[in-house]
C-alpha cells in the first residue's frame, strides 16, 4: 500500500509527501530551526547559569567557548532565530485569521489563502535576510 495514504510517512513526510507549496518548505525549515534553537537553548541555560558561581567560573566558561567553531555555531543559532521568529509572525497572524481574507464565492481562479499571504511571507523573508546580513557583519566583520 502507498505509504502516503496511511498518513504515516514519519519524518520523511516532513520533507516530501506530494506536491508542496513554498509554505510547506517554510514549515520544514521552521521545525528544523526550532529543534536547533531548542538544543542550543537547553545548553545555554547551563552555560549562563555559571554567572551565579562568580567571575572565575564565568570567565573560564567564556574562555572555553571563545573558539571559531563555537562562534560559527552561535551565528547559526542567530540565523535560525532570525528565520524562526519572522516566519513565526506569519504563522501567528494566520492562526489568528488575519491573513485568511474574507469568505467569497469560489469563482475560478480561486482565491487561496496561501496566495493572499504570500507577499507577507516574502516581506518577512526579506526582513529575515536583512537581519542575517546585519548579524553576519557584526559577527565576522566587526569581530565580536
Amino acid at each position: 500500500m502507498n505509504r502516503a495514504r496511511t498518513g504515516r510517512l514519519g519524518i520523511l513526510g516532513w520533507a516530501y509527501a506530494g506536491r508542496f507549496g513554498v509554505e510547506r518548505y517554510a514549515y520544514l525549515l521552521h521545525r528544523i530551526t526550532g529543534l536547533g534553537i531548542l538544543a542550543y537553548f537547553l545548553l545555554h541555560v547551563f552555560v549562563t547559569s555559571s554567572r551565579a558561581l562568580g567571575q572565575g567560573a564565568w570567565e573560564s566558561v567564556m574562555g572555553f567557548l571563545n573558539k571559531p567553531v563555537f562562534r560559527f555555531g552561535e551565528f547559526l543559532v542567530y540565523v535560525a532565530f532570525a528565520y524562526h521568529a519572522l516566519n513565526g509572525v506569519r504563522l501567528i497572524l494566520g492562526e489568528l485569521g488575519f491573513t485568511l481574507g474574507r469568505p467569497g464565492r469560489p469563482v475560478y481562479p480561486y482565491p487561496v489563502a496561501h496566495r493572499r499571504q504570500r507577499p507577507l511571507f516574502l516581506a518577512l523573508m526579506i526582513l529575515s535576510a536583512a537581519l542575517i546580513v546585519a548579524g553576519g557583519w557584526d559577527f565576522f566583520v566587526l569581530g565580536h
Partner: protein
C-alpha cells in the same frame, strides 16, 4: 489542561519571546552596530557587563520571564513533534513526563542563578 489551552499558551509564549529575544539578540549580537549608533554598550559578555545587567531588577525579571516562556515554547514544540510520530501509549506518557521534568528543572536552575546573581 486542555490541548487547546496548551496550544494558545504556545502562541502567547511565542509573542513574548519575539519581543524579549529580539532585545536579547540585539544586545548580544548586534552590539557593535548598536555601539556604532551610540548606545555605548560594547562587549556584552565581559564579566563587568554581566554584573551590570544581573544587578538590574528589570533585567532579572526579563531573564526569568524569557527563561519560562522559551522553555515552555520550545519543549511544547518538541513534545508535539515527538507525539506526532505516533509513539505507543507508554512511550507517549514517558515523553510527556520527561519533557515536563526537563522544563521544570531547567527553569529552577536558571531562576536560582538569576536570583543569586541579582542579590550577590
Amino acid at each position: 489542561m486542555r490541548e487547546a489551552t496548551l496550544w494558545t499558551l504556545h502562541l502567547a509564549a511565542g509573542i513574548v519571546i519575539l519581543v524579549l529575544l529580539a532585545v536579547h539578540m540585539g544586545i548580544m549580537h548586534l552590539e557593535d552596530i548598536l555601539a556604532a549608533m551610540g548606545t555605548g554598550y560594547p562587549d556584552p559578555l565581559s564579566w563587568t557587563s554581566v554584573v551590570v545587567r544581573s544587578k538590574k531588577l528589570l533585567f532579572t525579571v526579563a531573564y526569568v520571564l524569557l527563561l519560562g516562556t522559551a522553555l515552555y515554547h520550545g519543549l511544547y514544540g518538541l513534545r508535539n513533534i515527538l507525539l506526532e510520530l505516533n509513539p505507543g501509549r507508554v512511550a507517549a506518557r514517558v515523553i510527556q513526563w520527561l519533557v515536563l521534568a526537563l522544563g521544570i528543572s531547567l527553569f529552577v536552575l536558571g531562576t536560582v542563578a538569576a536570583i543569586v546573581a541579582y542579590v550577590r
